[in-house]
């Protein structure tokens, strides 16, 4: 398609721009971005969904580095596939082993790995990387508290103060290994832009400017040179312009949202994979003891909202029916099947149960007022829900929810706020309801989500900045069970502990589950094959996900 389209563009452009632009009319259309241009090189053009110009930042330890830094240029020891929950894929490491207590972790390194400048990558680089993280607290994004020591040239041993079966995944699956001979020379690694990154990944930086940058295949890559010659990342202002550019055949891989994907890309070689991951919920400021105020502090009100929502309608009206069903346990239905307790194996129903909602409220002593809204002790069940201005799918979902809840005698008032305010209000507990989503952790295990969103370690009283437990949920039983699950490798014990957590949080419902948010990855199948599809999710397909993008780019091949 892109060929035909470009030719047409060339003609029209030539006619319309006439003499003044003859130069460009000739030059503009010649360079086909995709596989099979005159030079025979295959180039993949990627739009990650990030808006605005690029800043030259390939420092893998600074958040805000360019998307390809972690995964494409630098690699971790192991790759954990968040979509499948299978065994980790060895990258720079070959195997790992815990001692029984979970306090010692021994890693065997892969043989024959070279940095892109030709130097050997050894276990010493791994030790150096973890020492760097310990030395520079700003780099310690995973809370690494271990001690790395060199056993021999290809073996590293980590020692932890506590059992770290689950936490260690963050260290070995989420830490980019950097070359000692380069990084030891840097004077201030925290502000170093690392403009000429030397990594071990499948691609190396070729050229950079603020509108796009180019990576070239690493000829010496340990896994064999990737089949794609170059990868170009481009900057755009958002979904609309990305859609236009995709339609021009100028992007091969994009992570964006748009309604009616099939209709828009009909007749083009563009296809998509939908991988719902983040779980959209009404976050509630749930605990009066922490200073929350409003009807949502009553679990009966939260249960009533849960029952009154018509999720099928929300999905079709606001989310173009791309969203997935959610488990009331916040585990992902298929992936976490073995972690979801039997009693909660059913997903959250798509159709509303208004009777159950009304029952919940009446059972808790609420009575309908003359305006049709329930009230108790003079306080009406009227809730304000905060949403970010411009998040149109969420706003539409709230508009629809408001009508649905009205039938159950609950008033829902939307408040659109700026992203800044919304964020600040969440961490300070300055909200009644907030429409947001629960994100996943490093690996395919609900532990990380439970830890972040439900453990009382990660919350704070209203008025203080909390961790990600924005709901101000604190429950000693849950805390204990999460801690216990984190310090064992025994799956049966883990499942038992998760069942305890689930029984508590399904009852208390500090986050009212709605749907699993869709994540669309759009790719061009004309020039490139081997993209991750729903049948073969060898990695999470979105190009904005660290580590996974490196796996995708070294797996795809030019068509033909």
């Amino acid at each position: 398609m892109s060929h035909a389209m470009k030719r047409k563009r060339a003609t029209v452009a030539g006619v319309m721009l006439a003499s003044a632009l003859t130069l460009t009319a000739c030059t503009a259309p010649t360079g086909d971005a995709n596989g099979g241009d005159s030079s025979g090189k295959s180039e993949v053009v990627v739009y990650t969904g990030v808006t605005g110009d690029f800043a030259e930042n390939f420092n893998p330890f600074i958040e805000g580095n360019l998307q390809s830094t972690r995964g494409v240029i630098y690699e971790p020891l192991f790759f954990y596939n968040i979509t499948s929950g299978g065994d980790p894929e060895p990258l720079l490491g070959e195997s790992f082993e815990f001692n029984e207590a979970g306090t010692e972790l021994t890693i065997t390194m892969r043989d024959g790995v070279k940095w892109s400048d030709g130097e050997d990558l050894t276990a010493e680089d791994v030790v150096y990387t973890f020492e760097l993280i310990t030395e520079v607290p700003a780099f310690n994004t995973a809370g690494y508290d271990g001690q790395a020591e060199l056993v021999d040239e290809k073996t590293v041993k980590f020692t932890f103060p506590e059992p770290s079966f689950t936490d260690a995944v963050s260290y070995i699956g989420n830490t980019p290994i950097v070359p000692e001979h380069i990084w030891a020379e840097k004077t201030d690694p925290t502000t170093d832009q690392n403009a000429e990154p030397i990594g071990s990944g499948a691609f190396t930086l070729s050229e950079f400017n603020s509108q796009n940058y180019l990576l070239a295949a690493n000829e010496e890559y340990w896994g064999g040179r990737p089949e794609i010659d170059t990868v170009r990342y481009i900057s755009l202002t958002g979904n609309q312009s990305a859609t236009d550019t995709l339609l021009q055949g100028e992007i091969d891989l994009a992570g964006i949202f748009l309604p009616d994907v099939e209709g828009v890309f009909k007749g083009t070689p563009l296809e998509y994979t939908n991988t719902p991951l983040n779980q959209t919920s009404f976050f509630t400021c749930s605990d009066e003891a922490q200073g929350c105020t409003g009807p949502q502090t009553d679990v009966a009100v939260r249960t009533a909202i849960y029952n009154a929502l018509n999720r099928d309608q929300l999905n079709s009206l606001a989310f173009s029916s791309y969203n997935g069903q959610m488990s009331p346990t916040y585990g992902l239905l298929e992936r976490d099947e073995k972690w979801i307790a039997d009693e909660f194996s059913e997903p959250v129903p798509g159709t509303p149960n208004v009777d159950a909602a009304i029952e919940a409220l009446e059972g808790a002593g609420y009575a309908r007022g003359s305006d049709g809204i329930f009230a108790k002790d003079g306080e009406r069940v009227s809730l304000t829900v905060q949403v970010v201005t411009g998040w149109t799918d969420y706003i539409a979902a709230i508009d629809a929810s408001a009508e649905q809840l009205l039938e159950a005698g609950i008033e829902l008032k939307p408040a659109q706020v700026s992203f800044q305010e919304w964020t600040a209000n969440k961490s300070n507990g300055n909200f009644q309801l907030s429409l947001d989503s629960l994100g996943q952790g490093v690996a395919a295990d609900p532990y990380y989500l439970y830890m972040r969103y439900f453990h009382s370690d990660n919350t704070a009283p209203v008025g203080e900045t909390s961790g990600q437990n924005f709901a101000r949920y604190s429950n000693a039983t849950v805390d204990q069970a999460i801690d216990a699950a984190g310090s064992t490798l025994d799956e049966a014990v883990k499942a038992e502990q998760y069942a305890v957590v689930q029984a508590e949080i399904v009852r208390d419902m500090p986050y009212i589950p709605i749907l699993v948010n869709s994540a669309l990855t759009i790719y061009n199948t004309d020039n490139v094959q081997g993209w991750p599809t729903e049948d073969n999710l060898y990695a999470y397909p979105r190009p904005d996900r660290a580590w996974d993008n490196g796996i995708v780019l070294k797996t795809i091949k030019p068509a033909n």
Binding site: V12, N57, E63
Partner: protein, 329 residues
């Protein structure tokens, strides 16, 4: 000389006032950059409390200082060209980001504004000269273009001409397959090709204003007695139109143009958003959305300097063009 000194004095005061306002305003924004970064990052991957702490270590330094200390650092920074480090584009210095963005805005939007001015003034001259002609009667129509929201017109044109017909590119400032930024013919060519539609939309939506202003000035000027005198002397109409009428009538438009050049910088926000065009406007939007104080200050500074500079030039120019201004000053 007194006139010039007076003017320079005024602009020094205005600059100081504007700088102070620029300093205070970004700090009135709600939100905290670390919270915002964490929220954005959690959509992409795991964010732990440790990460949060580490971000605070990196980015949270400035807010601990007192407001006066920050003000002092700000003023010193401006005069030494050190505007701090951007949060959005951490750890790139603000000066570097502005330096990357500025040329795009200046060239594309500058040329669009210049073309709109030239077209508007030329047509306005003709319309005013031949009052009641078909061109003159079109004046109300052209001002209709000004009433159309600029981004609406741009989006429609983009959709029809670029997405539909494929006559123009849909996004970006140049074609990376043709050339990389630099002073080569290839690059200039592709940059012109990409800048044409954005510039065209600026021309379409804004030449009406210049046209009307020029036309009205022409009409006023033409009824001046010295024009009648010139006619009576038997000068050629072309010479009267250009050398006598238009030359006097264009003065206010020139003044307006210099000022509008200052607004070019801030006016680019919408244009750049629609066309995915690199520049100051899209950078500013990023900065505001990320509470990027340092970057915002830097951008405000550039915009402020542009407007003040343009105004100063106009005032000095007037001193030169109109001798009475000087004499009376």
């Amino acid at each position: 000389m007194r006139y010039i000194a007076r003017k320079l004095g005024f602009y020094a005061v205005a600059l100081w006032g504007a700088l102070t306002v620029n300093f205070l305003l970004p700090r009135m924004l709600p939100g905290n950059p670390v919270d915002i970064l964490v929220a954005k990052l959690s959509a992409r991957g795991p964010v732990t409390d440790e990460l949060r702490d580490s971000l605070e270590l990196l980015l949270g330094g400035a807010p601990d200082q007192g407001i006066l200390e920050q003000y002092w650092v700000y003023l010193v920074g401006i005069f030494t060209g050190n505007l701090g480090i951007s949060i959005t584009y951490y750890p790139v210095p603000v000066v570097e980001i502005i330096g990357q963005a500025l040329p795009w805005t200046l060239v594309m939007i500058g040329i669009g504004t210049l073309l709109a001015f030239i077209v508007g003034v030329a047509l306005g001259m003709l319309a005013g000269w031949k009052r009641g002609s078909w061109l003159d009667n079109l004046v109300p129509v052209t001002t209709m273009f000004q009433a159309v929201p600029y981004f609406w017109l741009a989006l429609v044109l983009l959709y029809i001409l670029s997405v539909g017909l494929g006559a123009f590119p849909v996004s970006g400032g140049y074609n990376y397959n043709v050339a990389q930024p630099g002073f080569t013919w290839d690059f200039v060519g592709t940059a012109i090709y990409h800048g044409t539609l954005p510039a065209l939309t600026i021309v379409i939506s804004s030449f009406g204003g210049w046209l009307l202003g020029m036309r009205n000035m022409m009409v006023s000027t033409l009824s001046e007695d010295y024009i009648v005198t010139a006619e009576a002397k038997g000068l050629r109409p072309m010479r009267i139109m250009t050398a006598y009428a238009a030359r006097n009538a264009v003065l206010p438009s020139v003044a307006g143009f210099a000022i509008s050049l200052g607004f070019v910088v801030s006016g680019s926000i919408v244009t750049e958003q629609v066309f995915s065009y690199p520049g100051i406007g899209s950078t500013l939007l990023q900065a505001v959305n990320n509470s990027d104080y340092a970057l915002m200050q830097g951008l405000f500074l550039v915009i402020t300097l542009a407007v003040l500079g343009a105004n100063l030039i106009v005032d000095l120019l007037y001193g030169v063009i109109d001798p009475r201004t000087r004499a009376n000053g």
